[in-house]
Symmetry: C2
Subunit: 275 residues, 2 copies
Amino acid sequence: MTRVACAQYAVRDGDPDHNLERSLHFIWRAATEGADLVILPELANSGCDLGSPERALDLAEEIPGGRTVRVWKNEAEGSGIYVVGGLLERDGDTLHNSAVLVGPEAFGRYCKTHLWDREKLLYEPGREVPVLDTPLGRIGLLVCYDAWFPEAARTLALEGAQFICVPANAPDDWVPERQRRGDLTMLNVHCIAAANANRVFVAAANRVGDGYLGRSCVVDVTGGVLALAGATEEGLISVELQLDRAHREKRLTDLSHAFEDRNAAVYKGEAREDR
Amino acid sequence: MTRVACAQYAVRDGDPDHNLERSLHFIWRAATEGADLVILPELANSGCDLGSPERALDLAEEIPGGRTVRVWKNEAEGSGIYVVGGLLERDGDTLHNSAVLVGPEAFGRYCKTHLWDREKLLYEPGREVPVLDTPLGRIGLLVCYDAWFPEAARTLALEGAQFICVPANAPDDWVPERQRRGDLTMLNVHCIAAANANRVFVAAANRVGDGYLGRSCVVDVTGGVLALAGATEEGLISVELQLDRAHREKRLTDLSHAFEDRNAAVYKGEAREDR
């Protein structure tokens, strides 16, 4: 079993020292509670309201050479925990909205491929959605708005991901209160739909405060909600997952299978040439 | 504005006379309440527990020549309403799990492309997901399990559908009660996710009784739930929709757009050659 935790907290825009301290606090708490992996929010080093492009370059860090990854790696090697978190990355003068997986025996990096609104003016989008082989299992990373594109989770799942981790800074859904059902945000809905359609585990760690919606979640391969945080409070949610269920439970009945039942000949939508 | 209704009722397996009478009752009620279009459940002529293949062939009808389409067409021409409903279809000795759109000035037919479990032994799957041009707007049809495959709604939306109608016979979700949130079924979750990701309207009419889950729904382009039926009771839900919002609201902000933000170069999954 793999204990997975999502850390939901108020990242502070443009305050990297504070943000590093808070990330360490939650990594430490998750490790203390026995978590094997903890997910932190998107842009956990910088926040996402960065002021000018110059200020953004100033706040951005190299991966894996920058301070935050080095500190997380040190923490991971000390406690044995794997850390997934969002990072403002610089590669020369190029900025990325990235996520990393840092752990004792694995390292991975992903650049957000679906950029929201003015992020397009600042970041270079990613060009692949890699599956990361770790001792815990095969893990895919997505960042926030990526989750609104079902092709992204589908791609990870078809490539063998068992567990999709989603650092997020999801703000308003633009859905009127009376049209919501239960306590689910649209990020939750997309996580549930992706988990159920692909028979993978999905977990999202969302920011709170300043209008961010919280509701970090861990979703079962069935689409069941295993844990759901509140809308405003900081904290950890954590659940034990049996990640190999993501492979075993692709088969739904003797004759039905989540992937084999796809009818790709009728689907429209550009796809990679190597499909 | 287009008033759309979903008729939720207990189709009776293997009782076509009863089922035709019930469908006419709900078409008539919807027309009386001012609906421009009414959606009936999947396999509304036959039910889905058909006994033997021979009995299924006996219950199946030709489209458009069979009795149910003729009667629905007569009703549609009399009242001006459009009827979408699921039908057990025969074409020679071949069976399809189909849906039709029957109205005063449009007719369309769709065969379920994603067959659930033992349906594979009985039906020939469809090979296209057509968008139907009607005086009300551009309408796509999906049948039940199709909604579990995000590529299906995506294809319809990319082809210009403004409104996706889903006749369904959705039974158990296999999600433990304590892992559900609010009163949403997995069919609802997939309708909400598809509406929000594609910025289209989605409505599902589900069967009740015999373990079928009901919860017929109408979902806004934002993903907001405009109407949601109960789990067990028969009845109509109806809502006014402004279908051209599905085109106008693809643009999310000055720089974000539900389709233009797709990053197709990274997606895996076979697609049609003519993409």
